[in-house]
Amino acid sequence: MNTLYLYTIVGVGLFTLGLYALLIHSDLLRKILAINIMGSGVFLILVALAARTQGAVPDPVPHAMVITGIVVAVSATALALALVIRVRTKVGHANLPEQSLE
């Protein structure tokens, strides 16, 4: 056991927080923020677990995975933001209509 597990738990917390916000908000920009925070949670878990053995050099493979993940996330965010602007110009508001929660 070591303090780095703390970060893993924080990661779990962020993931859940993001999920909650994603479901509860109807504002699109906020949903995108929520997805990003969820993603950060996942990345945090990945990297924190990679360093969980005390004193050892952390495993580089998850680091590479997270960098890939960050780039994917920024691409998705950019696409989503452009889509938000389109939705707003076409529909007139930046919310998802009903049904956003199953």
């Binding site: 993931f15 999920l19 994603l22 699109l28 949903k31 997805i35 969820m38 993603g39 996942v42 878990i45 990945l46 677990l49 990679a50 969980r52 493979v61 998850p62 995975m65 890939t68 993940g69 994917v72 691409s75 998705a76 696409l79 989503a80 889509l83 938000v84 389109r86 939705v87 076409k90 529909v91 998802l96 209509p97 049904q99 956003s100 199953e102």
Partner: protein, 465 residues
């Protein structure tokens, strides 16, 4: 063998590439058929360090149906996106996006690395979203937005599962994982996460809410792709994980999936019957057909898997044909309200034939591909004594018959309103028809794909029963 495609941004070089990829898939198919399952180490590093590509019967079949459908869609799109209906600025973006989607699918079916699968999933999801949004209307944009969020959410769930698996076993390769796997809390949670993420993307019953709107509001060739292939891609990953990594004998979970699948068949069928617009009807029909795929899980036997897979293949072909037919009708009459169909059969005999033939496969009448799939499922259900599944499979077929005859009925009759009509490029009609014929043919040549499924023995866990 290389299925990465550079974005051909300039114009319709697309067709050329399409032909090239089909040839590549054929070559790979020959290789796999002759030599058994193939493994290819990218960069020459080999599995734990690098990324392996892996092709066995399962991936080969997916690739083949992928190639057929994609070729069809490519040909169809040359007609569809050349119309005045679409502004040129939109049409030129279709091709690169479409090529990305196709490349993502090919990469996905070949990969044997769970993180690599995540990246391909994202590639697939983003290109699919952009393609849906291409339609440009308010509906399309809103559903594209929802689709995007759903996709990202599903991917994150999947990725978290990958993270746990990696940290438990120190590898990302499916084969290596399957050798090391053993039940532990981390594995169960990872399985739960990956399953829910993938099921969300596959739109199994309670999580299907995003599908009809997204599939119905996209441009016709895109709807065809989404229904035929994109949802199947996440199902494919799910199947791979389920068969190879996770212990198959978790029967409670399998039962649950089966029940959800059964509800999906009913719900999708009933909803489809209630729709007034053709594309919505077809989209709900997809929800129902996806339900069949999950019926195999409670049985988990050799025949059941094959049956589900067969349904998957024939549905891919038939559904593409259906959406294309819908696109033709939409283009011809300017609308797709089922009640206002006006002598569609008379004006578009080819399209109507395509729709009817595809319908035969969806309903599961002999000699179509859908029939063989359902037959295998039925046999498996009877063998394992699960009679409720038998009833569901038959009921599902009846429901499908009901909604398809509804459409065909209106297509024959005259509508009270008259409409302006436009000519549909003949190749759009022919491709729809050819794909529908392919769906029927799949039933006639059934032994052949069934034999391919055995290559590499993806279902080896079960004795042939």
């Amino acid at each position: 063998m290389l299925s990465f495609l550079l974005p051909q941004r300039v114009k319709l070089l697309g067709l050329l590439i399409a032909a090239g990829v089909v040839a590549a898939v054929a070559a790979l198919g020959w290789q796999v058929a002759e030599l058994g399952a193939q493994r290819y180490a990218i960069g020459g590093w080999g599995a734990p360090l690098g990324i392996d590509l892996y092709a066995d019967g399962l991936s080969l079949l997916m690739l083949m149906v992928n190639a057929v459908v994609c070729l069809g869609v490519s040909v169809y799109s040359t007609g569809y996106f050349n119309r005045a209906y679409f502004r040129r600025s939109r049409a030129i973006y279709f091709w690169p996006l479409w090529m990305f989607l196709w490349a993502a699918l090919n990469a996905l079916f070949l990969s044997s690395d769970i993180f690599n699968l995540y990246v391909t999933l994202e590639l697939l999801g983003l290109s699919a979203v952009a393609l849906v949004a291409l339609a440009g209307g308010a509906d399309a944009l809103t559903s594209a937005m929802r689709y995007l969020l759903i996709n990202l959410l599903g991917s994150l769930f999947y990725l978290l599962g990958v993270a746990l698996l990696y940290h438990r076993f120190g590898s990302l390769d499916i084969t290596i994982l399957s050798q090391h796997i053993e039940p532990s809390p981390a594995v169960w949670v990872a399985m739960g996460l990956m399953t829910s993420g993938l099921l969300l993307k596959t739109a199994l019953f309670p999580m299907h809410f995003w599908l009809p709107a997204a599939h119905a509001s996209a441009p016709a060739p895109v709807s065809a792709l989404l229904s035929a292939l994109v949802v199947k891609a996440s199902f494919y990953i799910f199947l791979r994980l389920w068969l190879e990594i996770f212990p198959v004998d978790s029967s409670v979970f399998g039962e649950l999936l089966g029940v959800l699948g059964a509800i999906a068949i009913f719900w999708g069928g009933v909803q489809a019957l209630r729709q007034t617009r053709l594309k919505m009807l077809i989209a709900y029909s997809t929800v129902a057909q996806l339900g069949y795929l999950f019926l195999a899980f409670p049985m988990a036997s050799y025949f059941a898997w094959k049956g589900a897979l067969f349904i998957l293949l024939s549905h891919a072909l038939a559904k593409t044909a259906m959406f294309m037919a819908a696109g033709n009708i939409l283009h011809f009459g300017g609308h797709d309200r089922i009640q206002d169909f006006d002598h569609v059969v008379q004006y578009q005999p080819l399209t109507s034939a395509a729709f009817a033939l595809a319908g035969i496969s969806i309903m599961g009448l002999p000699p179509s591909g859908g029939f063989i799939g359902k037959w295998l499922l039925l046999e498996a259900a009877i063998n394992s004594g699960q009679w409720w599944l038998v009833i569901i499979i038959i009921m599902g077929g009846l429901l499908a018959a009901a909604y398809i005859f509804k459409v065909i009925g209106y297509a024959f009759t005259q509508s009270r309103k008259s409409h302006q009509t436009r000519r549909v490029p003949i190749r759009m009609e022919w491709t729809a028809l050819i794909l529908a014929i392919a769906a029927i043919l799949l039933g006639l040549i059934a032994p052949w794909p069934l034999a391919i499924m055995d290559i590499g023995l993806p279902f080896s866990g079960e004795a042939a029963g």
